[in-house]
Subunit: 228 residues, 2 copies
Amino acid sequence: MAGRDQSSSARWHRRKAARPSEILGAALACFGERGFAATRLEDVAARAGITKGTLYLYFRNKEELFKAVVRQSLVPNIARAEAMVAQSAEPSSVLLEQLILQWAELDATPLSAIPKLILTEAGNFPDLARFYLDEVIHRGIALFQLVLRRGIERGEFRPLDTELVARCAFAPLLLAMLWRHSFAAHEGHALDVTTLCLTHVELLKHGLTSARSSACSKESEVRDEPAG
Amino acid sequence: MAGRDQSSSARWHRRKAARPSEILGAALACFGERGFAATRLEDVAARAGITKGTLYLYFRNKEELFKAVVRQSLVPNIARAEAMVAQSAEPSSVLLEQLILQWAELDATPLSAIPKLILTEAGNFPDLARFYLDEVIHRGIALFQLVLRRGIERGEFRPLDTELVARCAFAPLLLAMLWRHSFAAHEGHALDVTTLCLTHVELLKHGLTSARSSACSKESEVRDEPAG
DNA sequence: CAAATAAATGACTGGTAGGTTATTAAAGTG
DNA sequence: CACTTTAATAACCTACCAGTCATTTATTTG
């Protein structure tokens, strides 16, 4: 997967530039599979095609390696999503769909291991939990809220508690990522995340649609109290 | 929380009957906070008001303790939910709401730590993952599917992929439980799970409602394709 | 109340894995 | 092609913790 594909027969090579990312990749995989405490640095090193000693040339200790793994990751994707929302002229329901499907693409990448990792180790690394809460989670929720508020203002969506709906909006996708890194290996058929998200989005659109803008003009049986 | 509230001044007491459940309670808390590998048996013992040696009088080793913690738990609740569905005459949407709210009650109990625990350790305990997959997760999904299929047959719900909708249906609640045992401690205000579930259920009902049975007789803008 | 029982303790051990460092050898330099 | 530099190694050290066991003591019993 990484490391010694240098065709030469020499026992090892000096590859200072390539090591950090290779180590981070190996560490993400190991931490994702076993968790922080259960992961041995020897395994990370082996996976990166080096030895344990080399690891310490690039990271001060296990904890720093872990934090580097976690930090490298999702923040750029949040920023990307924020940019997309800021400059979109689409209907809010379409924007919501784009937002979810964009994140769903992460599921196929190694980064999809990070949510599980954070969740698992939040108790052992409080400062890291705070970092993620501020830089990813709260920003993510705020972004969904922005779209939802926009939709409500435009009369596309009916009024609802935007924070709670935001949490409902990304829950299935997030759970699918957690699933992939816990139960997926133990089950025969893979869960198709894209299909899941499409179904969910379709459900959401239906559920959010305001009486006003839908083809149905009469109020339905659903009460309009904002669930507070 | 457990242990030495025996008013007497004696250094310790013989309480063979009470120990196992106290140990399991302490272990659930510790494992939930730190994970399996990072939890020290001395901490579990201290939390249970005993010493490490005593722990080994009741559980063969750390792994057995862990498995006992995980096994004790959610299966009875699944069975209870199955019974409720089997003998209910309510409309399917009401049944769905009851199902979710019933599970939401677990959030306030120590058992709410179990999903995180399983998710975290599925990679390290494959047999345990299988057990949970079969005895809890698959049964839970099947139960939701049952309700959904019933609703579709009766014309209450429009046709949709029941497995995917089932996953969407419990995702917010499950995520809230995970939240409680990871980020809740790092955030000022608590997440009100009941309100979250009520909002979600309201959204779901709206999203599932078939054009036929809603107060609105015209077909809405939402297409009826079963999202497959 | 004394002897018997077994619940509980706490000091001990051994293996494991995080972290260090003296040594090796790959690549760069004149 | 010597010589220098430093990436990489592998043997080593050590702290920690799961698991053990001889001893202590609360409780039961006759």
